[in-house]
């Protein structure tokens, strides 16, 4: 029991204090039970299942084998043959999450900065608009971009009717687009591609970036940069030496949070990423719910993804501490 609790109890008459204590205890009990049932137990289940064994042509059975973990690093045919397929998928999980979260934060930063300089009422309208856009699920957003990038209804159509496609063909750049997979013989095409994947992932977390940066940026004291300006510093120097250092921590925190959020993207990757750039999240799903019912290997992949993400967060935390210490 904490000191604060003691004080609280002492202030009440003993007759009232006992039921309140019981109520408090019961509340804590229920909350911990909920935590255990809904967080800890599933989590432990995933870890335990990751040691299970797949039965060919059926499902899987409980076991204690490290084969699934070994498969993740060298493939199922090791030692006859080695594949880094699953490491490659893990690599792309990080690749897309890092680039998309950085892009979202870097574009949200100037927007949020401008937003904080608007009138209060205008700020409120913008914030409500951005908050409401959070209610759209990943599936909706991906569907929207899918239509926007489609041949007959989206950007490629615009290229065609404005004559841009023909112009690209005339000047010879069309062949380059075909070589890098952004065109078929008839028209330009933007999906599936890295471009569409990163664009959609950044778009997905952009409102979060604004909302996470807003409190820190709205507390920025404008007199600091004004003072620097009056002392002759250029606008860029002010941004670099005054504004950015003072929001270093929220910037790092936001990027890390978005990064972790994006590590698990499923719909965007499965719709917009080319098969050579699929990620661990998609592979986990295809093992657990896909046609082969290999939950143990899916769980092992999930555990490894979790460990890798934790390591990243730990280093992020270290960097933060270092930055604070300076």
């Amino acid at each position: 029991m904490t000191v604060a609790d003691d004080i609280d109890v002492a202030a009440d008459s003993p007759a009232e204090a006992t039921p309140r204590l019981i109520r408090k205890g019961a509340l804590y009990g229920v909350l911990s039970a909920l935590m255990v049932v809904f967080c800890v137990v599933p989590f432990i289940l995933v870890i335990v299942i990751s040691f299970g064994r797949k039965v060919e042509g059926a499902a899987w059975v409980w076991d204690f084998t490290f084969e699934n973990y070994q498969r993740f690093f060298v493939g199922v045919l090791w030692p006859d043959e080695v594949t880094f397929l699953y490491l490659q998928q893990l690599g792309y999980s990080f690749y897309f999450a890092i680039i998309a979260s950085l892009l979202a934060v870097l574009t949200a930063l100037p927007f949020t900065l401008l937003l904080t300089r608007l009138k209060r009422s205008a700020q409120a309208i913008w914030l409500v608009f951005i908050l409401s856009s959070l209610s759209m699920s990943e599936v909706f957003i991906v569907m929207g971009w899918d239509i926007l990038l489609s041949n007959n209804s989206g950007l490629p159509r615009l290229f065609q009717v404005t004559g841009l496609t023909q112009w690209l063909k005339d000047v010879g750049w069309f062949q380059t687009l075909r070589d890098i997979g952004l065109a078929n013989p008839r028209n330009v095409k933007f999906k599936p591609s890295e471009f569409a994947t990163i664009l959609t992932m950044s778009y997905l977390v952009w409102p979060y970036a604004v909302i996470l940066l807003y409190p820190a940026l709205s507390r920025l004291d404008p007199s600091l940069s004004e003072a620097a300006r009056t002392m002759g510093a250029s606008r860029w120097t002010v941004t670099r030496t005054v504004t950015l250092p003072s929001i270093r921590l929220p910037l790092m925190g936001t990027t890390l949070l978005l990064f972790v959020f994006l590590l698990g993207s499923y719909v965007t990757i499965s719709v917009f990423a080319t098969p050579d750039k699929q990620t661990t999240a998609v592979a986990i799903y295809s093992n657990i719910r896909g046609s082969n019912l290999n939950a143990p290997f899916g769980s092992a992949q999930a555990v490894i993804l979790l460990i890798s993400a934790s390591i990243c967060l730990y280093f992020g935390h270290l960097l933060n501490r270092k930055a604070e210490a300076r």
Partner: protein, 356 residues
């Protein structure tokens, strides 16, 4: 004790269903059956055209349950079985999933085929023998066909045309699931069909051939709707897709046309299986018997677009109606290979797809 409880619960459930369906309270109270089928248009057609006929013929009410056409349903059934519940009395399984369910055990119950007289209309292949006797009766068949956009290309004569980069560069839509037929199609086109699928070397040779088609594929789809959108949007001008849906889309005016190339199209079929723990085995047998009736097979072909499992001659389907849902030659999936060599095929396939 538990059993009595469950029975009481089931009875009260049936009673409440009866109370809600005022039109036929007496029939509903006496007999009912929960039947699973793949959702959307497919299930709606069953509810509108097939189940009412069954109820009219037997007096058994059908409660329709939406189930996926994938191993997902096996996960659901396993979880339900360990919780002691039965989500459906009858579920619809593809052959591969049915064999898996049979091997996992405790999911599908043996059937009393003598109560399903009409099963004799079906080829013996369509009555699946599990370890403890028959466990599945064929329901309907479907084709995964070659489709193309008739506004953009001429009718391809062979699957091999899809490998022609001059015609199909970055334009095809194929399934990214290893067991969804591209291996069988490739094997039938360039190798010795099912026989090549039975060895690791054969699998690798087929996968090497599939690797060559990659520059022509723009969409590796995993959900049917992706391919549907791809064809409608013009992102895709050819690929593999379900024959019945392709025909429906074509009759709605979309630029898609299915065709039977000289190697044929992939034919798979679904089976009705009785859930372990269901107490409606008699009603289930009646339903399966009804389903095997040539008239019902024709009813499903007309209204759902599935291919009949009985000879066309047994049904009253016209040649035109038959061509809408079926064709020849047919390529049969190498079920045994997919089941016995599952992990090897999946990893080799995934590796091939993941190469840049």
């Amino acid at each position: 004790m538990l059993k009595i409880n469950r029975r009481t619960l089931l009875k009260s459930g049936v009673a409440s269903v009866a109370a809600s369906s005022l039109a036929t309270p007496l029939i509903a109270q006496s007999r009912s059956l929960k039947v699973g089928s793949y959702g959307g248009y497919f299930e709606d057609s069953f509810k509108s055209f097939v189940y009412p006929e069954f109820t009219a013929a037997t007096g058994i009410e059908v409660e329709s349950v939406t189930q996926p056409n994938s191993a997902d349903w096996l996960v659901t059934m396993q979880q339900a079985a360990s919780a002691g519940t039965v989500p459906t009395d009858i579920s619809l399984y593809g052959r591969q999933q049915m064999i898996k369910a049979s091997r996992i055990g405790g999911l599908i119950a043996p059937l009393n085929v003598s109560a399903i007289a009409n099963a004799s209309n079906l080829d013996g292949y369509f009555v699946f023998e599990g370890p403890d006797g028959p466990q599945g009766v064929g329901a309907m068949s479907w084709f995964t066909a070659m489709v193309f956009n008739p506004n953009e290309v001429d009718t391809p004569a062979s699957w091999a045309d899809f490998w022609d980069t001059d015609k199909f560069e970055a334009s095809l839509g194929l399934s990214n699931v290893n067991s969804s037929g591209l291996l069988d199609i490739t094997s039938a086109t360039f190798f010795d069909g099912e026989e090549t699928m039975m060895s690791n070397e054969g699998i690798l040779a087929i996968i090497d051939k599939v690797r060559e088609i990659k520059p022509n594929v723009t969409l590796w789809w995993n959900a049917e709707s992706q391919m549907e959108q791809g064809m409608k949007n013009g992102d895709v001008i050819g690929g593999q897709y379900y024959l019945d849906v392709a025909n429906l889309m074509a009759s709605d005016g979309f630029p898609i046309q299915p065709t039977f190339p000289k190697e044929g199209n992939l034919q798979d079929y679904g089976s009705w299986c009785l859930s372990e723990g269901s107490e409606k085995s008699e009603e289930a047998a009646e339903f399966m018997n009804f389903s095997c009736d040539p008239a019902t097979q024709a009813l499903m072909s007309r209204n759902i677009g599935t291919a009949p499992l009985v000879d066309q001659a047994m049904t009253d389907l016209t040649d035109e109606e038959f061509a809408f849902v079926s064709g020849s030659p047919s390529i049969k999936p190498a079920y045994e290979a997919y089941l016995d060599n599952e992990t090897f095929i999946k990893e080799s396939w995934d590796k091939m797809l993941a190469e840049s």
